[in-house]
């Protein structure tokens, strides 16, 4: 089942990448990053059947880091929204050259 899991994980990762590049709503972009993290988790779990239980331990850490990242990222989004009154990345051009 390893190869099938890797194909599914790769497909989800590619769809997440497309979402990050194509969408402009910053919350959807953030959601697509979570999608990519989830695909990587699936890869780790699939390989843990063949390499050892460490893969599952690592997924545990990835989920904890994803929780921290979601908290800080959403706080940043709220802070930006308060300033620009929009979540469209088109308008976030303060640091754009």
């Amino acid at each position: 089942m390893l190869v099938e899991s890797l194909v599914v994980a790769g497909a989800i990762f590619v769809v997440g990448t497309l979402g990050v590049i194509v969408r402009r709503n910053v919350i959807i972009m953030f959601l697509c990053i979570e999608l990519q993290l989830n695909a990587v988790n699936l890869t780790f779990v699939a390989f843990s059947r063949y390499v050892g239980i460490e893969g599952q331990v690592f997924v545990f850490f990835v989920i904890a880091v994803a929780a921290a990242e979601a908290a800080v990222g959403l706080a940043i989004i709220i802070s930006i929204f308060r300033h620009y009154e929009t979540v469209d990345v088109k308008h976030f051009n303060l640091l754009k050259w």
Binding site: M1, L2, V3, S5, L6, V7, V8, G10, A11, I12, V14, V15, G16, T17, L18, G19, I21, V22, R23, R24, N25, I27, I28, F30, L31, E34, L35, N38, N41, L42, V45, S48, R49, Y50, V51, G52, I53, E54, Q56, V57, V59, F60, F61, I63, A64, A66, A67, A68, E69, A70, A71, V72, L74, A75, I76, I77, I78, S79, F81, D88
Partner: protein, 173 residues
């Protein structure tokens, strides 16, 4: 039976992932994301990672997605159905990158997957640990012996994230 369940979960996971990117309403995107996470948890169960499946449902689909939904509701984006696709250049770059990644994946996996299918033995060791210590004990044993320092560091990281989120979301930064 396992194969049928696997392909069902896989199809739902990939289809809902496409739904996350394709749907216009942020709330619909989020519900598709929850579907993807739940299907992935099902695949985790089929790969004998029962504890992670439970954590995935509780922490990911439960806590983190509710946090996202809370922010969408707080910013009043639930009724926004405007088109929010990037311009043509970014679209071309997006599909080019996606095509390259997908092509690489197909090429890698169609080349030679025979070496990947051989079971080196850790699968049996994991099954033995599951039988002896249970679903939680099998992952808790390495977590609290070999990986206890990273585990404690994760606690510090979560504390830093809480403080950072509070400071960032305060009225006057």
């Amino acid at each position: 039976m396992t194969e049928i369940l696997f392909f069902m979960f896989a199809a739902v996971a990939v289809g809902a992932a496409v739904g996350v990117v394709a749907s216009r309403s942020p709330v619909a995107s989020l519900l598709f994301m929850v579907t993807t996470l739940a299907s992935t948890a099902g695949i985790f169960v089929l790969l004998e990672a029962h504890f992670l499946a439970a954590v995935q449902i509780m922490v990911y689909a439960g806590a983190i997605m509710v946090l996202f939904l809370f922010v969408i509701m707080l910013l009043n984006l639930g009724t926004e159905y405007r088109r929010d696709i990037q311009g043509n250049v970014a679209l071309i770059i997006g599909f080019a990158v996606t095509g390259l990644l997908g092509g690489l994946l197909v090429r890698q996996l169609s080349g030679g997957t025979a070496g990947l299918e051989t079971n080196f033995g850790p699968g049996d060791a994991i099954d033995a640990a599951l039988l002896e210590h249970g679903a939680v004990g099998a992952i808790a044993r390495p977590l609290f012996t070999d990986y206890v320092v990273p585990f404690e560091l994760t606690g510090i990281l979560l504390l830093v994230a809480i403080v950072g989120a509070l400071v960032l979301a305060k009225k006057a930064v």
